[in-house]
Structure formats: structure tokens, C-alpha cells
């Protein structure tokens, strides 16, 4: 497993894995690792929040364990659960073979019957993994409180098995789309990183990195188009992921110049609601003029 000992190393590690980041992201990662604090990454949809965790895992040469949050997520889906069906079968079988009840009970609360979910997996990992808790803002307040408890001590108590402490605490990255404001306690525990839409230069660099073989002129046109699109009042503003999709699509179509016909045909790559599509179609001339 590798380590990252300085901000420069963090920058180099990000660049080596194709993540076009900036000094701030490298600093945040470095501090999060050194201070052993979770890193809360907030930003609009599609700016590369989840990517950071993936790149970090690759840079540290360790496993990425992902917990996708949703409303109603609770401890049993996030931490562990017993395999009830298997347990009941075992009980019935033992009953047939007339085994002692106490022996059965000791037997069925065993490792083999434990369904390990992401949080427990992260705690029991032999090497410190990167634990990505994705879209924490979609989970509810109860889950946040539970998470806070787990992240505070990096240990969990399973009544039948005992207390399990992490050998090496995982590197925790939380992402949020700001759909809901997170609780104060969780925020105070984490370091904070806000990722905004990239500047035009940066977005150009990202496209050239991720979509090799694209014409420079076309990439510049795309970047300018999307940048002016983001200034407008759309239902869903396009993120970097959408720009990359569009770039790949145009490369597939062997297009080297952006004009009205091409843009209209491939609009589905960057705008995702009917109202937005209609609006962009109406304003297409103006937007293209800006490129």
C-alpha cells in the first residue's frame, strides 16, 4: 500500500491517474489522510466528486468500498445483517437431527451466517480501504446520527460476535449534492471541500485527458457552449460528466465542428429535461454564436 506524504505527492498522484484537479483538491486529500478526518465533498451533480474517491483508492493501491445512500437506509443495510433464511434452515435441520438447542444457537450466530455490508467490510479490511459514502444527503437524519457514531470510534459491536475494531481506520470520503443540508455534527467532524464547475481551461484539459482523439477546435467549442449554458436558467445544469459524454458522442459521430444540426441531434447528451431541450433549441443560434 502506498502513502501520500505531501501535497505535491497528492497532486502528482491525481495527475498520474487522469484526474485533472487543482491544488485545493490535493490539499484536501492530503489533510484528510494526515488528520484522519473524513472528507466531505460537496458540489453540483457531475463535477467529479465520486471520482476523487476512486482516484484516491487507486493512488493508495487499496480497495474502494462504496456505500450508496438513499432515504430509508438503515443500520442493517449499511453495517451487517444476519442471513435469516439460512439460519432458519439450519435450525430446522438441526431439529431433525436432534441436536442440542444451545449448540444450535451458538452455531447459527457464526461468521458464515453474517452478511457483511459496506461499513463492516471497511472496518474489517486488513489494509486501510477508501470508504466512499455516496450521496449522504439522500439518507435521513437518523442514518447520519448512526454514521457519526460509527465514524467516531471506527468500531462496531455485534452482540453475538463481540466488538470489532478497525485494524486501520478507513479513509472516508462523503459526497453530497446539497439536496438537503447535512447535520451540524457531521459537518463539524469532516473536512470540507467544495467543487465548483471547472473553468474553461480546466474543462478543456479534462476533455483532452478523457477523450483522446478529439479535435482541439471541437473541444474548445464544446467548452464554450457548455460554459454559456451553465449561465442560463436550466432545470438541470450540465456537469463535467455531461460534457465528456457529449465529447465522446461527437467523436463517435466523426464530427469535427459544432453546428446547429449536430448540436440539435446530440442535445440529449447535455440537457436532460423537456423544458431544457425546448429552451436550448430556441436559443441555439445565440449559444452557437458564443462559441
Amino acid at each position: 500500500m502506498n502513502t501520500i506524504d505531501s501535497i505535491e505527492q497528492a497532486s502528482a498522484a491525481l495527475a498520474a491517474r487522469g484526474y485533472v484537479g487543482d491544488e485545493e483538491i490535493a490539499t484536501a486529500l492530503f489533510l484528510s489522510m494526515r488528520l484522519r478526518r473524513p472528507l466531505l465533498v460537496e458540489g453540483h451533480a457531475g463535477v467529479g466528486k465520486t471520482e476523487i474517491a476512486k482516484v484516491l483508492a487507486a493512488a493508495l493501491d487499496t480497495e474502494l468500498i462504496r456505500l450508496q445512500c438513499y432515504e430509508g437506509l438503515d443500520a442493517s443495510s449499511a453495517l451487517y445483517e444476519w442471513n435469516y433464511a439460512k439460519q432458519i434452515l439450519r435450525i430446522r435441520l438441526d431439529e431433525q437431527s436432534k441436536r442440542d438447542a444451545k449448540e444450535t444457537e451458538a452455531h447459527i450466530f457464526d461468521e458464515a451466517y453474517l452478511l457483511e455490508r459496506p461499513l463492516l467490510k471497511a472496518l474489517r479490511h486488513p489494509q486501510a480501504p477508501v470508504l466512499l459514502i455516496d450521496e449522504i444527503d439522500r439518507a435521513d437524519e437518523e442514518f447520519e446520527a448512526f454514521l457519526l457514531e460509527t465514524l467516531a470510534e471506527y468500531q462496531v459491536t455485534i452482540p453475538e460476535l463481540g466488538t470489532i475494531t478497525a485494524h486501520q481506520p478507513p479513509f472516508v470520503v462523503l459526497t453530497s449534492n446539497r439536496v438537503r443540508e447535512l447535520g451540524e455534527a457531521l459537518r463539524r467532524r469532516c473536512l470540507y471541500l467544495w467543487i465548483d464547475y471547472p473553468s474553461m481551461h480546466k474543462e478543456l484539459a479534462i476533455i483532452e485527458q478523457r477523450v483522446p482523439g478529439i479535435e482541439r477546435n471541437l473541444a474548445e467549442q464544446l467548452v464554450r457552449f457548455v460554459a454559456s449554458l451553465r449561465e442560463c436558467d436550466l432545470d438541470k445544469r450540465p456537469g463535467v460528466a455531461e460534457t465528456l459524454d457529449w465529447a465522446s458522442a461527437l467523436v463517435e459521430l466523426h464530427v469535427d465542428h459544432l453546428d446547429a444540426a449536430v448540436a440539435t441531434a446530440s442535445l440529449g447528451c447535455i440537457v436532460k429535461t423537456r423544458r431544457d431541450v425546448n429552451w436550448v433549441r430556441a436559443e441555439l443560434e445565440n449559444l452557437l454564436r458564443a462559441t
Partner: protein, 401 residues
């Protein structure tokens, strides 16, 4: 060119006062309304130990990552950082550049620091507008609210709110009940339900030799909705202000998770101030600001600072206003759209609707109307009661009351 920052920092470090400077800087940030807590300061100091602090960029970024918790604070942080740490002579926080922005009179009457910070953030964007409008309306703003109410001559404002406390209380309670009607997706064990609680089942099965004799159930919890009330307290709404504010207070008493905001050309959160202040004084101080009602700008300041109150799965937004907006209708529409996106129902109560000849043709009102789910008058107790029953029946149906 020698970086002045490096000089300051190495001087501070040599004198052992870097820690003090950082702590002082954190208090400065806090006094300007940024959300900084004590534990963040500790984290910031620990973080500084890990990096090369002589590098200005690293120093700044490291403090930002450790201290800030919201992206809205970033511009203010950058300005304060520059003025505090780039000062050659001495790193005194009492520069003229870093003086707190002018706050309206309203805040000086309160003692809590948290009240000041709420206002200073929302007021600074609108202070320039206020200055211009205050000049022209300096004379009229000196009138007392009581005199203005007498001038209103509105036959519909005849009810005397002071006799209606019990009735309003009942309405508040029915609102609270109407809001507490949503099931969340989180399951909890319950004596009856649609899903079996496997964990409890196993426990009881083991006790009975593997035979599940009792079936424990799980069901979805009932989640109480949140209510956000925006109350227009500008002079045009003065005749209805008493009734509507009492209504808001009644709902606040009975329902959990209610947020109440007053606005005229500025927005103030008053949800936690009902208990220690007489509500009439709140409106008096507010109307002293003068100028036309800026509904769009006020709601925009809500979206900027308090949008976390809106959670689309759980929230009902109620606007109590006559829709006479001095601002741009397009911006009002955009802001309302954002508020509506964050709530499951947008209700607009316009007392003018009760006057027979009223048509919602004022630009602001006309712009807002298509976005509103329930449009009603709310000018007296009966209409308020009707709203409560509407909430009870079908929260998502669109109709006029």
C-alpha cells in the same frame, strides 16, 4: 518580491503567537457570520502542523478546508483572509476593510449573536437598495403602523384578532394534524404492518426451537412534514398582518418543524423568537426600512441562506402576501420555482383575493400564479380553516379555494 505573508507568518511563529493569530482569525470569521465551530479551530491548527505554512496558497487552502462548512462562506472567507493575513504592518483584525457590514436597526434590539449573523448576511446584499429608497421615502417611513392601518379602510379587515385566539389555536392544531400525514421509507418494528421483521422473527424462532410462533412486523414510519411560512409584513399588508402573524404563531405552537420568515424588502427568520418577544414589535421594526416590497429579492435571500429548510419530500411552503412586488417578476418566478422544487406544495394566501373586484394582474402576482398549487385568500378565520381542510384531503391536488 518578498511575500509579505511569509514575513508575517514567520514573525508570528517566532513569537509563538501563530496559534493566537489563527484563533483570532477564526473569531473574526465567526463575527462576520461564517459558520465556524470550536472543534473546527482545533482541526485547523492540527492541519497547519502538517503543511508548509510559509506557502501562502497552502496556508489559505488548508484553513479553508478545515474551517468552512458551506460554499456560501467562500467569498467572505477569501476577503477576510486577504485583509487579515496580508497586512504588512500588523495583523490587526480591526481594519476598516473588515468592519462588519451595516445592519438594520432591527438587530440592535436583540442580544443573541446568532440573530445578528442571520441579518448581516441577508442585509448586506440589499443595503444598497435600501439607501436609495430610504432617501426618497424618509418622510413616510416615520409614520406609525397604527396610523397606516387606519388609512387602509379595508372593510375586510374588520375582525379584531385579539378575540380570535381560541379559534386560531384550533386552526393551528388542524394544520399540524394535516401536516403529520406522510409515511417515510424507513421501516421500524410495529405490532402490525406489511413486512415481517426478520430479525425479531429469528430471535423468537430460536426460543421456540425454530418455529416462528409469533410474527413481528415492520411498517413505515409516519414522517411529519415541515412547514415553511413566509409572511409579508410590508406596509401594504399591514391591515392583515395581525391576523396572519397570529395564525403563524398558532401553527408554530402546535406543529413541529415550522419555520417562519418575515419579509418586506429583506428576510428575517423569526421561528425561534415568538416566545421571548412580542410579535408586534417585530413588524414595527421591520416596516421602518421603507421602500416597496421586494418579494423576489427576499425569497432569493431565503434560497441563498436557508434553503436547507426545504426538503422536497417533506415540506409545504406557504406565502402570505398580496403579491405587490416592486422587483422584477422574472426573478420572482425563478425563485419561486426553486422554492417549489424543494417542497411538495406551494400555497399562496393573498388577502386581496377576498375583495370582489380583484384580479391577480399585478406583475408579481401574475408571474407567481402558475407556480402556485393552492391559491386562496386567508383574510379571515373561515378561509384559513378551509385551507387546513384542503391540506387534510389531498395534499397534491391543484385547485383554487
Amino acid at each position: 518580491m518578498k511575500d509579505p505573508h511569509a514575513r508575517v507568518v514567520s514573525q508570528a511563529r517566532a513569537q509563538g503567537s501563530l496559534v493566537n493569530s489563527v484563533v483570532e482569525f477564526c473569531s473574526l470569521l465567526k463575527s462576520h457570520g461564517l459558520q465556524i465551530s470550536r472543534s473546527n479551530t482545533d482541526i485547523a491548527l492540527a492541519g497547519l502542523a502538517e503543511i508548509d505554512i510559509v506557502s501562502f496558497a497552502h496556508f489559505r487552502m488548508s484553513l479553508r478546508i478545515c474551517l468552512l462548512q458551506r460554499p456560501e462562506d467562500i467569498p467572505a472567507y477569501n476577503d477576510l483572509f486577504d485583509s487579515y493575513w496580508r497586512n504588512d504592518s500588523d495583523s490587526s483584525p480591526h481594519d476598516t476593510q473588515t468592519e462588519p457590514p451595516q445592519k438594520p436597526e432591527f438587530s440592535t434590539k436583540n442580544n443573541g449573536e446568532s440573530n445578528d449573523t442571520e441579518l448581516s448576511v441577508s442585509a448586506e446584499t440589499l443595503s444598497t437598495d435600501n439607501e436609495q429608497e430610504n432617501d426618497s421615502e424618509a418622510n413616510s417611513s416615520n409614520q406609525s403602523p397604527h396610523a397606516i392601518r387606519a388609512l387602509a379602510r379595508d372593510p375586510l379587515a374588520e375582525n379584531d384578532p385579539s378575540n380570535n385566539t381560541a379559534a386560531l389555536d384550533r386552526i393551528g392544531r388542524s394544520f399540524a394534524r394535516a401536516l403529520a400525514r406522510r409515511r417515510s421509507r424507513r421501516h421500524q418494528s410495529h405490532r402490525s404492518g406489511k413486512r415481517i421483521d426478520s430479525r425479531k422473527l429469528m430471535r423468537s424462532a430460536v426460543r421456540h426451537g425454530g418455529i416462528p410462533l409469533e410474527l413481528p412486523w415492520r411498517r413505515q414510519q409516519i414522517r411529519r412534514s415541515r412547514l415553511v411560512i413566509f409572511c409579508d409584513v410590508s406596509r401594504s399588508m399591514d391591515s392583515y398582518a395581525e391576523l396572519l402573524l397570529q395564525f403563524a404563531a398558532a401553527v408554530l405552537r402546535h406543529a413541529w418543524r415550522v419555520e417562519v420568515f418575515l419579509f418586506a424588502n429583506d428576510l428575517v427568520r423569526v421561528s425561534d423568537r415568538w416566545h421571548d418577544e412580542n410579535w408586534t414589535s417585530l413588524t414595527e421594526n421591520f416596516t421602518g426600512l421603507g421602500g416597496g416590497t421586494q418579494i423576489g429579492a427576499s425569497l432569493q435571500s431565503f434560497v441563498d441562506n436557508y434553503h436547507y429548510c426545504l426538503n422536497s419530500r417533506q415540506c409545504v411552503a406557504i406565502v402570505l402576501s398580496d403579491g405587490l412586488d416592486a422587483g422584477e417578476p422574472a426573478s420572482l418566478k425563478a425563485t419561486l420555482r426553486r422554492i417549489k422544487a424543494g417542497s411538495r406544495q406551494l400555497i399562496w394566501l393573498n388577502p386581496l383575493l377576498a375583495t370582489p373586484a380583484y384580479e391577480p394582474i399585478a406583475r408579481g402576482m401574475a408571474a407567481a400564479l402558475p407556480l402556485v398549487d393552492v391559491f386562496a385568500s386567508g383574510h379571515n378565520l373561515e378561509s384559513l380553516q378551509r385551507i387546513a381542510s384542503v391540506l387534510h384531503e389531498a395534499p397534491s391536488r391543484i385547485h383554487d379555494v
